[in-house]
């Protein structure tokens, strides 16, 4: 259910997430501008303006709570002091809004995962990892309340796997490599948060995996059924963050969040129709069905008729949340949740795997298996079964080409060796030069 999680999180300035109400999470970014020393004062001025305008609009609309998300751009992570300076700036705005207006609020900070710079990428050591670590530490010191990342371990094999429709490589990337990296990375992040004392390890996102598939499917480059199955399977690697210290709310672009919420009870952030400023999704309403924070994903600081785009999208999110919260207060949340679900559910395979019923089914398949690899296959087969059932009931209509792909995906998932060691051996011999085995403890 939206707004309700079994393990709410109190963070930032007196904000409790998942305890009955949904709050906006506003995410914003720069217009086209070089981020460099020469333009740094302009960059800071842009963030100053965005924070001011967003909070003015939120206070005018009397939002009961708010999260700001600061996603660092690559240059702000590679120069950790820059990311920290902006974190400090945003924290001070939130602090003032809390002190002056009683706004309950928190700041999420998401450094860039820069570790993919080599080929194969070194994930557990090297200059990029050291710089990232410094970025985390400085942002925590500067006042980040929630720490997130869109981690990329396994992506070096997943991307070509997607492009070639290689199901075995996709499963290996999502079920062996990615969760091993996520687990290791979140051990580090959780330890840093514990040492800092003021920041919570919030959660990860399979953005580089499942959202890549979603966008490619939108452009008719990949089958939608593949994107749907990848989404379900990607939940296993995002879940690993929670098994290694994350306490929510998960990252907004982690559309696999409802599956994680069903398993862990931690609050989640989601994005949908009000993130159309950032990208397309066929999940506009259904994504809200189980959210605890509701995000716009990212919007540039450009002028619109009503003001700046970040403040306009703050307003959109505020009204979305207001409706959900009134439904909750009136005891009608279930009805609204079902409307949000049914309005999208069978119009896209990707939506069909994210209904409350489907997420419970995929979550059940995941927890019934031991080990990331077997869980990933189980999640994929559960997604296939959901789509098959929809086709059989004539709720889901697919092109012939999509049905052929669904057949192929199912056949290949069924044919995968049940032992992780066997598929690892096979992938090491075929793709061993494309990833650094030691980065995954292999």
């Amino acid at each position: 259910m939206f707004g309700h999680s079994k393990k709410p999180l109190r963070c930032g300035f007196d904000l409790t997430i998942g305890a009955g109400h949904v709050f906006p999470e506003v995410n914003f970014t720069l217009p086209a501008i070089n981020v460099e020393k020469a333009t740094w004062s302009e960059v800071v001025a842009q963030y100053e303006e965005m924070a001011t305008k967003i909070l003015e609009r939120a206070i005018a609309l009397q939002v009961p709570g708010l999260v700001l998300e600061f996603e660092l751009l690559p240059a702000m992570t590679s120069t950790p002091e820059w990311g920290a300076e902006l974190t400090r700036l945003l924290e001070s705005h939130l602090r003032r809004a809390h002190e002056k207006h009683g706004l309950r609020c928190a700041l999420r900070v998401t450094p860039t995962d820069m570790r993919a710079q080599g080929m194969p990428p070194l994930l557990r050591s090297g200059a990029a990892w050291e710089t990232m670590t410094r970025s985390f530490e400085l942002c925590m010191e500067a006042g980040a309340h929630l720490i997130s990342i869109e981690s990329i371990g396994g992506k070096e094999l997943h991307d070509p796997g997607l492009m070639y429709g290689d199901i075995r490589a996709i499963v290996f990337a999502l079920g062996v490599l990615a969760p091993r990296d996520t687990a290791w990375l979140w051990d580090q992040i959780s330890a840093m948060c514990a040492q800092n004392g003021g920041s919570f390890p919030a959660g990860d996102s399979a953005c580089g995996f499942a959202n890549t598939a979603m966008q490619l499917a939108h452009q008719h480059m990949l089958p939608e059924v593949l994107a749907a199955v990848v989404r379900a399977m990607s939940a296993v690697r995002s879940l690993a963050a929670f098994e290694h210290g994350a306490v929510g709310p998960s990252k907004d672009c982690a559309y696999e969040g409802p599956i994680i919420k069903a398993i862990t009870g931690y609050p989640i952030c989601m994005e949908g129709k009000s993130a159309s400023c950032a990208h397309f999704s066929p999940l506009g309403n259904i994504a809200a069905a189980m959210c605890d924070l509701w995000s716009n994903e990212s919007v540039q600081n450009v002028r619109l008729l009503s003001g700046s785009a970040p403040e306009a999208f703050t307003e959109t999110l505020a009204y979305d949340c207001r409706l959900m919260n009134v439904a909750s207060d009136k005891g009608d949340a279930l009805r609204l949740r079902d409307w949000l679900t049914e309005s999208d559910e069978w119009l896209s395979p990707q939506a069909a795997v994210l209904s409350p019923e489907a997420t419970m089914s995929i979550a059940g398949a995941i927890v019934s298996e031991k080990g990331y690899y077997n869980r990933t296959i189980a999640a994929g087969l559960a997604a296939v079964a959901i789509l098959r059932a929809g086709i059989q009931r004539k709720q889901l209509t697919l092109r012939v080409k999509e049905v052929q792909w669904l057949d192929r995906i199912e056949k290949e998932l069924d044919s995968l060796a049940p032992a992780e060691t066997k598929v690892t051996e096979e992938m090491m011999s075929q793709h061993g030069t494309e990833f650094d085995a030691s980065s995954y403890g292999l």
Partner: protein
């Protein structure tokens, strides 16, 4: 005997083993390497491109066809080189400085390879000087720049400016692409072409080469 048909079919089906077998069989029957390129490989990839445009093929089918074509080309390349044949053109491609996204760039690289171009992929976060160095090293006809972030788009302009300063703009065409990129932006920074999607890239690159030959 028609040597081209089995190779054409193998490429269309994305079957690299079959394309190698078909090429070997054709060569054993004294087919001319260039004839296989012009009557099987290029027509097959053109057909694949049409099927992709019509949304009958997804990217995996398209890339598997490209892989099958390259497998055949690996057999033909030494024979073509011995006969003095050249690739259609040489392309240096990369995602510009500050940007780590590479899917769109990889797709464009594969499509260009499938279209008969020799492609040098510099990867992501590529600084202008690396593009310039690669143009010299590989004698490139075309530089293809990719960016996914609005904040890294200015690096496209920096790259084009750097190429101009290096005195190579007149001999190298620049094509740009990526989600936030527009035709207006391409014009504004002085690039030669912009593609909204990967599917138009091969035709644009071929036009660039034809223009050069016509001058």
């Amino acid at each position: 005997m028609d040597h081209s048909k089995p190779l054409y079919e193998a490429i269309l089906n994305g079957d690299d083993k079959a394309s190698v077998a078909a090429t070997r069989a054709a060569l054993a029957a004294n087919a001319h390497p260039m004839e296989l390129v012009t009557t099987a490989m290029i027509p097959a990839m053109d057909e694949v491109g049409k099927l992709f445009e019509a949304q009958e093929y997804f990217v995996p089918e398209l890339l598997l066809a490209g892989r099958a074509m390259r497998a055949a080309m690996d057999l033909l390349r030494p024979l073509l080189a011995a006969s003095g044949a050249q690739p259609i053109g040489r392309v240096v491609i990369g995602t510009v400085a500050g940007d780590l996204h590479d899917i769109g760039k990889n797709l464009v690289a594969s499509m260009l390879q499938g279209g008969g171009f020799e492609v040098t992929d510099l990867g992501t976060d590529v600084k202008p000087e690396r593009f310039i160095e690669a143009v010299e090293t590989f004698n490139a006809d075309i530089v293809a720049l990719s960016a996914l972030l609005t904040v890294t788009m200015p690096a496209m302009k920096l790259t084009v400016d750097a190429m101009r300063a290096a005195g190579m703009r007149d001999r190298v065409k620049v094509m740009i692409g990526g989600a936030p990129v527009t035709r207006q932006y391409s014009d504004a920074i002085g690039a030669d072409g912009y593609c909204e999607s990967a599917s138009g890239v091969v035709a644009m690159a071929r036009n660039f080469i034809e223009e050069r030959h016509s001058h």
